[in-house]
Amino acid sequence: MSETYLTTSNLLGLAGDLLTAGTQVIAPAQDAEPLVGPPQSGPRVAYRVIRKPEEMALEAGMPANSLKEFFLPSTEPLLKWRYQKNDVELKEVETTFQPRVVLGARPCDSAALEILDRVMGWDYRDELWFGRREATTVVNLACPGEDDLCFCTTVGSGPDSVRGADMLLVPSGDGYFVEVLTPKGEALVTAHRERFSQVEKGRAEAEQFRKEAKAKVDRNLNASPERIAGWLAGHFEHPFWDKLALQCHGCGACAAVCPTCHCFDIVDEPEGVLGGTRRRNWDTCQTSKFTVHASGHNPRTNQNVRFRQRIMHKFFIYPERFEQVLCTGCGRCARVCPGGMDLLDVLAELEELAGTEATPSKGAA
């Protein structure tokens, strides 16, 4: 790991160099027309592929989407087929990708990439995921802490976390104090050596920024994922679940904005009479359709148990399987939920239960 410095204007320059060289650049950007959004919502900040360095809006607030869609798109082809008499011709999809750089990733978004590497790589390796992972250099920007719904520090990340990142920028002075973390990060610096400068000052300032951000986020939620996982392991059945999700609408808004929700559907879509595309699409355990069998039997009968699955998968199943909490504490789910479901509240309640009820109840998994 090495250290270097990048001025604000050199960051813009770096983006420009990359774009000129034909590298795809993904960054938080502020969308004006034609992306108007609801008339009241103001400009939308979201990660997207930028065409000009000036489109970057690194300090405009948390992007509405997560980085997930650039690695697991909301829809993507898995293969194409074409019928020829009795035969079928299959066309494979490309699993190697052009190099690209994410500039200004939030640490809660890069962390998700590292977390999801586990499920995408265990036993069967998802080449579409890893193809994109390998092609992408992720440059994090330390976050000042967005609002009172951030809880990254509770789930093993932090506003300056480097999980899933190749480089970390920490605001300092007229630019960024830079930590180069991986060979991919080194390669980026080497290729654009002239943009980076020696660290002369700013280390203390960066340190201060990190400390303040952590303190800000730390205030939001006091819970221990380990303790909660322990409680969840023994309490698949518990009155807590029975009224948990009364206000939940069973939509997939939380999963759509979640950096770690990765469940998907696979569908065939004919195009014309003979051919078509098999696609993988985002899906979510929050819909009633998710688990329904062709026979009509549905093992998850109502929204309470579907929401339980969401909590279980993130805070018990995934940690049990992959030693990571399937949550980066970005708080987006609570920000978008139309029914006011609040993951911070749920975790705080679970923390309390875990503190008071140590013994497993009936139906323990």
């Binding site: 898995l78 293969l79 087929w81 019928y83 009795n86 035969d87 079928v88 299959l90 494979e92 999809v93 699993t95 499920v119 995408m120 265990w122 036993d123 069967y124 390796r125 998802d126 080449e127 579409l128 392991a233 698949f236 059945e237 990765h262 469940c263 998907f264 559907d265 696979i266 569908v267 065939d268 004919p270 078509g276 098999r278 993988r280 899906d283 355990c285 998710f290 688990t291 329904v292 069998h293 062709a294 026979s295 093992p299 998850r300 148990v305 699955q309 279980m312 998968h313 018990f316 199943i317 049990e320 399987r321 139906g363 323990a364 998994a365």
Partner: protein, 276 residues
């Protein structure tokens, strides 16, 4: 080849098992795949009808027969309806095998009791033929099979073959009211017939497959007969998409049915939340 890419397979033969159940015999189009494709009894695959999608069934033929792969399916949803439309000579897709399998090495040298209901005979049939193809490795083989009615019994030709074998004890039954005047088998629900057949639990493994209600009432009978939960095996069918432990659909508590299953012991099932 990426993990979602199926092999192409030709439909060689199709058998109408019941008015809504069919068996397909498939061979791989690519000879190298045919050469390399191996699996174990109990594993499943994803079958594609291009344009309709993929569906999940166990491989119904035994691994001891290497020339083909068979699957049996009931027409219920979109893909199985499309699968019903395929004819001999048509091409479908198959990827797999996935999941775990029945522990045949443990069963070797022991008695095996097979208990199945309806289309639940498909995964069991795979094990039955595997055992019968290596008959000398096992002691007593008992098969208890039932369906709602005579016309709902699947693998009728094979039931006749098993009935004719002296090294197999076969009990066939149909639910009360499902019999025909010619019916010579038992009349009664599967758990009742298990009680009547009363296989000895000593040195015996049970393989149970069928509708949830049948399993629910069969397990206590086996328990009464002295079968420990660890010696009772079944397979779970959950809705799956990827079969690869990624898409998140088949979770039951901490279990990925596609990876940790589909074969479970009754002991394992009892530890799972009732979400299947």
């Amino acid at each position: 080849m990426n993990i979602y890419q199926p092999h192409l397979a030709r439909v060689e033969e199709l058998v109408e098992e019941t008015p809504d159940t069919r068996t397909l015999r498939l061979t791989f189009k690519d000879p190298r795949v045919a050469e390399q494709f191996t699996f174990k009894a109990g594993q499943f695959a994803e079958y594609s009808v291009f344009g309709a999608g993929e569906c999940t069934f166990c491989i119904a033929s035994p691994p001891t027969r290497r020339d083909y792969v068979e699957c049996s399916f009931k027409t219920v949803g979109k893909v199985t309806t499309a699968l019903r439309g395929v004819n001999v000579g048509d091409t479908i897709g198959l990827r797999g095998p996935y999941g775990n399998w029945f522990p045949l090495d443990q069963m070797s040298g022991k008695n095996v009791v097979f208990i199945a209901g309806g289309i639940g005979l498909a995964p069991v049939r795979c094990v039955i033929w595997n055992v019968l193809d290596e008959r000398e490795k096992y002691k007593d083989v008992t098969i208890i099979y039932g369906a709602r009615s005579v016309s709902d019994l699947v693998y009728k030709r094979e039931l006749e073959q098993w009935a004719g074998r002296s090294d197999v004890k076969l009990w066939q039954t149909v639910d009360p009211g499902g019999e025909t005047p010619e019916w010579k088998g038992e009349i009664g629900f599967v758990p009742t017939i298990v009680e009547k057949a009363a296989p000895s639990a000593k040195d015996t493994f049970a393989v149970v497959c069928g509708p949830p209600i049948m399993i629910k009432f069969t397990l206590p009978v086996l328990q009464k007969l002295g079968f420990p939960d660890e010696n009772i095996y079944t397979t779970l069918e959950n809705r799956m998409k990827c079969g690869l432990g990624k898409c998140g659909r088949c979770n039951i508590g901490p279990v990925y049915v596609c990876k940790d299953g589909p074969v479970f012991t009754a002991a394992q099932l009892k530890a799972l939340p009732a979400e299947y």
